[in-house]
């Protein structure tokens, strides 16, 4: 699919066309740093001074570049589509190939960063278990009650949570059976068809 760029976006990116390829490379690097760790205004100042333009223009250029990259990574645009999208900007051949390279190199990283921003449910992290037998209690001495203690570690976007649970042999076997059935469901034809067809 093609990216449709807003006019403002095109304007911001048009600035890149006016400078050297080296400078654009530098801008690409700054854009990636932005995506990774946030904006760095001092850099804009120094760059603007070097290029003798307003710092705002520099900032817009970098932000435009960054937005272009994130949108492309978001929709997983193929190379051809990417090239076609930036064709409308009227960049030179070198610039275009540079941007394409930048896009291809950093696509997965951008996607990982984006996925951290999305919502997350508490995820299974680890399960520890131990088998115990209760041999006596305050109200009943002389008993033999086996039980399985479990510690379930879950993680919810960085927050860890630990829960202690217990179960007995019958329920453990039932639980294992049910979850094995759940895993087997992935290999059924229905699931495979869906996975194959939704790309």
């Amino acid at each position: 699919m093609l990216l449709v760029l807003a006019d403002e976006h095109k304007e911001h990116l048009g600035f890149l066309n006016e400078v050297d390829v080296e400078v654009v490379r530098e801008f690409c690097r700054i854009a990636m740093e932005f995506i990774r760790s946030g904006p760095n205004p001092k850099l804009y100042q120094s760059a603007a001074q070097k290029l003798s333009v307003a710092s705002e223009t520099v900032q817009h250029g970098v932000e435009g570049l960054m937005f272009l990259l994130t949108e492309a990574a978001r929709y997983m645009i193929s190379e051809i589509d990417f090239q076609d999208s930036i064709m409308t900007l009227g960049f030179s051949e070198d610039l275009r190939s540079l941007l394409l390279q930048l896009y291809l190199d950093n696509r997965t990283e951008i996607r990982t960063i984006l996925s951290e921003m999305s919502m997350d449910l508490p995820h299974y992290h680890n399960l520890e278990w131990r088998l115990e037998v209760t041999v006596a209690s305050r109200t009943l001495r002389h008993q033999v009650t086996p039980r399985l203690m479990m510690k379930l570690h879950t993680q919810d976007s960085g927050e860890k949570d630990v829960q202690v649970l217990q179960t007995d042999p019958v329920n453990l076997l039932h639980m294992t059976r049910v979850l094995e059935g759940a895993l087997a469901e992935m290999k059924s034809t229905h699931c495979r068809r869906i996975v194959r067809n939704i790309k």
């Binding site: 449910l121 109200t139 002389h142 039980r147 217990q166």
Partner: protein, 196 residues
């Protein structure tokens, strides 16, 4: 098994045929056992019965309390009829009353123990598992995620509440495989323990 002095006093009273007749004794045995086993149906009139109307009410109540305590303590320590017989002989009860007690006790011992086991504590106990398989396609930041996700709900019971509580979490296929692998390890170790 230790019984307090008041309980032993009550047992001695219980063996005294002048205060408690035989029919009253049998009724008291059954009443004590039944109120312990079917606890929810206890009521105030548990000692209202023609066979015990002859005896002194406070004596009745003391004897009833002692018999109840003896049933519970004997079941708690898993005592068999020899232990209870020796204890009742120390309280000077006649042999046929001892035998009547032993009959009622031994025939209900297992149920008494099951009632005793209903007092305790524990962590949330997993009794059932529900699962749902979703295909995670996209979110508002990212397209083409395309990952199958399982949503697993463990239904747990907690002491003191009659509702099931849910423990929910999500996992990918690998995480679920990891969890199932660990559960299978637990099953295998249980099987090994059951064979040694």
């Amino acid at each position: 098994m230790e019984l307090s002095a008041e309980v032993q006093e009550g047992l001695q009273l219980c063996g005294d045929s002048a205060q408690i007749s035989d029919s009253a004794f049998n009724f008291l045995l059954k009443a004590a056992c039944n109120t312990l086993l079917h606890g929810r149906q206890r009521d105030r009139g548990v000692l209202d019965d023609p066979s015990v109307s002859q005896s002194d009410p406070s004596v009745l109540k003391q004897v009833f309390a002692s018999l109840t305590t003896l049933f519970l303590e004997a079941a708690k320590h898993n005592a068999d009829s020899t232990n209870t017989s020796s204890l009742l002989e120390d309280s000077k009860m006649s042999p046929d009353r001892i035998e009547a007690f032993n009959n009622v006790y031994m025939s209900n011992k297992i149920e008494l123990q099951s009632v005793l086991s209903s007092t305790g504590s524990g962590f949330p106990h997993v009794v059932d598992v529900d699962w749902r398989l979703d295909y995670y396609m996209k979110n508002n930041h990212l397209d083409h995620v395309n990952e199958p996700t399982y949503l697993v709900t463990l239904k747990t019971e907690e002491p003191g509440s009659s509702q099931l509580k849910d423990v929910q979490f999500a996992c990918t296929v690998e995480q679920l495989q990891d969890m199932v692998g660990k559960l299978k390890d637990a099953c295998k170790s249980m099987e090994k323990a059951s064979q040694s």
